[in-house]
């Protein structure tokens, strides 16, 4: 079909706009014109009168006692100010789950690059110079630098357990028992804009912070504890987040605010790339052990899974990351007998934190690789095994949740098969390799993933997030939420949802910039919750606003009628503001002590198919083509939706084979973009993206969260393709050439004998348990 019948055009007058038609179209993003012209002002682009610059003195050791801090040389510059933990006006803690994350190190440091002191000066250069003149004496102690060491003397930050059915009976009924251990490493967010924040005392004497962030109310809560006063927090246009600007802005905001209060002026702290990569959170490294029972029909009958996450030096968000990791650890597969146990352990590394997927990419890497191992053992292809076991409507998850709607695993698999002819091609490559004819080293691999949208369990019920809509002019409804746009296009997407609820074009809906003095705490911009949860509440608020505008009579039937009624209302009563809060669907409960019930009200489903070419000499992998099939419930804005799917998938491919962050004694060896390599335009495959719309009752017009799901399956699909191409049994991400060579030299290769032998012997489980 050519043309655009049935869709909207951007500049039509409202008289021609149909009702309820903004969702499903792709109007221009609200910030697009500014961004393409270079006129969008990010935090480092903002100017303030009398601005000073802040910088941070950081620990060069991962584990040490602080003996003395001597700032005399730095203070020789009479303008320089130096602050340490002794200068804090309130408790030395950044509040998240456990109160163990200090604002500034006090007496000891527990990870490399931990902040020890803060410096402010009139220029960036002088602030940085002063950092080098603050002398800190340390007494270095022996630290715990990785999971192996942590498992030898574990300090547990968080743990949880899911149990369903009778595991022993399940294994007793199994024809095959398959074991595997899978590891994933740190991953760095690499938002292209480094972390940055400005704090300033306002003319009224209040404290205001403006910065690159995802969660204004997190920052406000952290600062309220520290300063014991209300602080206004505003989001500046933000150059990428991916979870990296979820909890860490609490720290940098606290630092900037401490300096601003001390010098009585605006203070800006913007990290350079080295500092950002050394000091900010990363994805939790993981080790996941699987023991799976499979019956004669190739159905899973027992799954025993142990999940270990490296939480780093402080708890920060590890408890909730572990929770999501464990809840997704069984993959998108039905199994009646399941036990999943998880622990997050402390190490002397930078605290692991929120990163797109939040634990689920790690555990789904493991379960997807385990499914491939099972497929080979029972003599089928990976797609057929998944078809046999993937969730169907009515199936029950490990927490006992019955999947009552919007289950699309089979549909995604079928579309992927239709698009790629996966089964035939996978077998052909396997056969060619086994016969010794497969020198080309082309491979194809696949992963099926699921991802729960919104906060885990009763998180949304506890928050009962409020959103507000306000009629501020006859032709303008303002959306007041704390949801931040850091690239996803939240602003236009929420406008579309509200516009449809009101029967208006998006031009008559304005989303205000997140600012704690203007918007209610509709929750953080995390967990694939913005479209589904915040958007869902906004849809309800929109309908209510229209009803109230009708004042008991008929609601407006057209934008013109809306304007007429709105004008009358405003004249009579003034601004009309409505507030709605999250309301759980009836019967959706979750018990956090037993881990039973509705873990998530809706799940997105996706299949990644990766086609790779592996260089036979260097074992370097190139992803040549990728097919992405995703059920998103409803693509509110197809262009942006495809952008989420493709962008998340490329991050996942980077996680799978390219992005290699190693630590030596807790110090990252890669702290620049020339040593920590993310995919470039020549590394990225051409994406063939298919969006499926299988709606949920939990989201606006059926939409489910899409932000994190694409991160889950890309890594294992790519590594599966490498295995298909090379015959190297790949159990670790990233599967860099070095890792693959190590596996090859150690004889961890396919061939029916090797697989069967390893399986019969059972893999050594050193360090686990």
């Amino acid at each position: 079909m050519r043309g655009n019948q049935g869709t909207l055009r951007r500049h039509e007058t409202m008289a021609h706009i149909d009702h309820g038609r903004m969702v499903g179209t792709s109007p221009a993003r609200t910030d697009g014109a500014q961004k393409v012209r270079g006129l969008c002002r990010y935090v480092d682009d903002l100017e303030f009168d009398g601005l000073w610059h802040g910088a941070t003195v950081r620990s060069p050791h991962a584990c040490a006692r602080i003996v003395a801090i001597d700032a005399a040389a730095a203070l020789a510059d009479p303008d320089v100010v130096v602050l340490t933990a002794r200068d804090l006006p309130g408790p030395n803690v950044l509040r998240l789950i456990a109160d163990d994350w200090p604002v500034l190190a006090d007496g000891r440091v527990n990870h490399f690059a931990e902040p020890v002191a803060l410096v402010a000066a009139p220029t960036r250069e002088r602030a940085r110079a002063a950092v080098g003149r603050v002398e800190v004496r340390y007494e270095v102690e022996r630290g715990i630098h990785d999971l192996d060491q942590a498992l030898a003397s574990p300090r547990i930050l968080a743990s949880c357990r899911i149990e369903r059915g009778d595991l022993e009976a399940g294994f007793a009924a199994a024809t095959h028992v398959v074991e595997g251990v899978y590891d994933t490493a740190h991953q760095e967010h690499v938002y292209i804009e480094p972390q940055g924040m400005v704090a300033r005392p306002t003319a009224q004497g209040e404290l205001e912070v403006i910065g690159s962030l995802q969660c204004p109310y997190y920052v406000q809560k952290a600062l309220a504890l520290l300063f014991d006063e209300p602080v206004r927090v505003r989001q500046a246009p933000t150059g990428g987040g991916f979870g990296g600007k979820e909890e860490f802005p609490d720290a940098i905001a606290a630092h900037a605010a401490l300096l601003a209060r001390r010098v009585g002026r605006p203070v800006k702290i913007v990290y350079d790339r080295h500092e950002d990569m050394q000091a900010t959170p990363k994805r939790h490294p993981s080790r996941v052990r699987h023991r799976t029972g499979v019956d004669a029909a190739g159905k899973l009958c027992a799954m025993e899974i142990e999940v270990i996450l490296d939480g780093g030096a402080y708890t920060t968000l590890s408890g909730v990351v572990l929770s999501r990791a464990v809840l997704h650890a069984g993959g998108a597969y039905a199994c009646p007998n399941v036990r999943i146990e998880g622990r997050a352990l402390a190490t002397n590394t930078v605290p692991s934190g929120a990163f797109r997927g939040f634990g689920a990419p790690q555990t789904q890497f493991a379960v997807e690789r385990q499914m491939d191992r099972i497929a080979r053992l029972i003599g089928t292809d990976p797609l057929t095994l998944r078809e046999r076991n993937a969730y169907r409507l009515g199936d029950v998850t490990p927490t006992g949740q019955v999947l009552e709607e919007s289950v699309s695993a089979l549909e995604c698999l079928a579309a992927a098969q239709a698009r790629t002819d996966f089964k035939r091609r996978w077998h052909e490559i396997e056969d060619a390799r086994a016969s010794g004819e497969g020198h080309a080293l082309h491979g194809i691999g696949l992963a099926l993933s699921w991802h729960g949208a919104g906060f885990t369990g009763e998180g949304e019920q506890r928050m009962r997030s409020p959103v507000r809509l306000a009629l501020v002019a006859p032709d303008c409804v303002e959306v007041r939420v704390a949801a931040c746009d850091f690239g996803q296009g939240t602003t236009i997407v929420l406008s579309q949802i509200v516009a449809d609820a009101l029967g208006l074009p998006t031009e008559m809906v304005r989303v205000v910039d997140p600012d704690t003095s203007k918007v209610p705490d509709s929750g953080p911009t995390v967990a694939s919750r913005t479209v589904m949860v915040v958007g869902g509440i906004l849809e309800r608020a929109g309908r209510r606003l229209v009803r109230e505008l009708g004042q008991g009579g008929a609601p407006p039937a057209s934008p013109a009628e809306f304007v007429e009624l709105a004008r009358a209302y405003l004249t009579q009563h003034g601004e009309l503001e409505v507030e709605e809060r999250f309301e759980p669907a009836p019967g959706q409960t979750f018990d956090e002590t037993t881990y039973t019930g509705t873990a998530y009200s809706a799940y997105g489903w996706g299949v990644h198919v990766a086609e790779v070419r592996v260089d036979a000499d260097t074992l370097a992998t190139r992803v040549e083509r990728a097919t992405l099939v995703f059920d998103v419930g409803k693509a509110i804005h197809p262009v942006l939706c495809a952008g989420q799917v493709e962008g998340g998938s490329l991050q996942a491919f980077g996680f799978g084979h390219l992005e290699d962050l190693r630590l030596s004694e807790g110090r990252p060896l890669q702290d620049s973009l020339s040593t920590y390599v993310i995919p470039t335009a020549v590394d990225a495959p051409d994406f063939d993206t298919i969006l499926i719309e299988n709606p949920t009752r939990s989201g606006p017009q059926g939409a489910k969260g899409v932000g994190e799901l694409p991160m889950d399956g890309g890594g294992p699909a790519l590594v599966a393709a490498i295995e298909n191409a090379t015959g190297i049994v790949a159990t670790r991400a990233p599967a860099t050439p070095e890792v693959l060579l190590e596996d090859l030299l150690a004889g961890r290769t396919l061939g029916p004998e090797a697989v069967a032998g390893a399986l019969q012997a059972g893999e050594p489980l050193e360090g686990l348990r």
């Binding site: 179209t25 109007p27 695993a409 549909e411 579309a415 262009v639 993206t689």
Partner: protein, 213 residues
């Protein structure tokens, strides 16, 4: 301090700055041209890319003094240059980036667009591999790049009057096709998102509530 004579976006300017400053620092902190971004400070990310005599260059690695006597174009200068050259409306590359979803957070975009603009000025009909090579010095962490390639190809198609290729997720219609009226930008419709995907009936239960069938 040193007084520099720079020609930026067509205007000759005198600006005082420390002699060791990079062009990026002078543009951002002396001239208020903050469209050029600082993503890494060492030539890895490409967010600081500007055009010097039409060639994409990393302003974070260019000492400002060495740019004297050359024509510097920053992202802020693209639209004025397009209008000066008799163009109407937005610059076609900028327009295509916005329309195709080629920008998300927008932080890499100024550099990315300038690299794309330089490519199209030099090569009127680049292949997709040539597009990839030309943009490979500009890191983007948001898009996965496919929508960026599509934007460059759309800008190309609009310049030559060719039909741009439709993205795979919109099999039922070509969202990049021009409307009969010409320049009014259509909203991209989602009609037929699952049409034409070749989805075979997959056994019933997962499909019963799928609206696409």
């Amino acid at each position: 301090m040193r007084v520099l004579n720079l020609t930026v976006n067509g205007d000759a300017t005198e600006v005082a700055a420390p002699a060791h400053w990079t062009l990026l620092e002078v543009l951002r902190y002396r001239m208020g041209l903050t469209g050029s971004k600082q993503g890494c400070d060492k030539g890895d990310c490409g967010a600081c890319t500007v055009l010097i005599d039409g060639e994409p260059q990393l302003s974070c690695l260019t000492v400002a003094a060495l740019a004297e006597g050359h024509e510097i174009t920053t992202i802020e200068g693209l639209l004025p240059a397009h209008l000066r050259a008799g163009g109407e409306g937005p610059d076609p590359v900028q327009e295509a980036f916005d329309r195709c979803g080629a920008l998300q957070c927008g932080f890499c975009q100024p550099g990315m667009i300038l690299s794309a603009r330089a490519l199209l000025s030099e090569n009127p009909a680049p292949t997709r591999d040539e597009i990839k090579a030309a943009l490979s010095g500009n890191l983007c962490r948001c898009t996965g790049y496919t929508q960026i390639y599509q934007a460059v190809e759309l800008a190309l198609a609009e310049a030559t009057g060719a039909e741009p290729a439709s993205p795979s997720w919109a099999p039922g219609e070509n969202p990049w096709a021009k409307t009969p009226e010409g320049n009014a930008r259509p909203a991209v419709g989602a009609a037929g998102l699952t049409e034409g995907t070749g989805v075979a009936p997959s056994g019933g239960d997962s499909r019963t509530n799928g609206k696409a069938h």
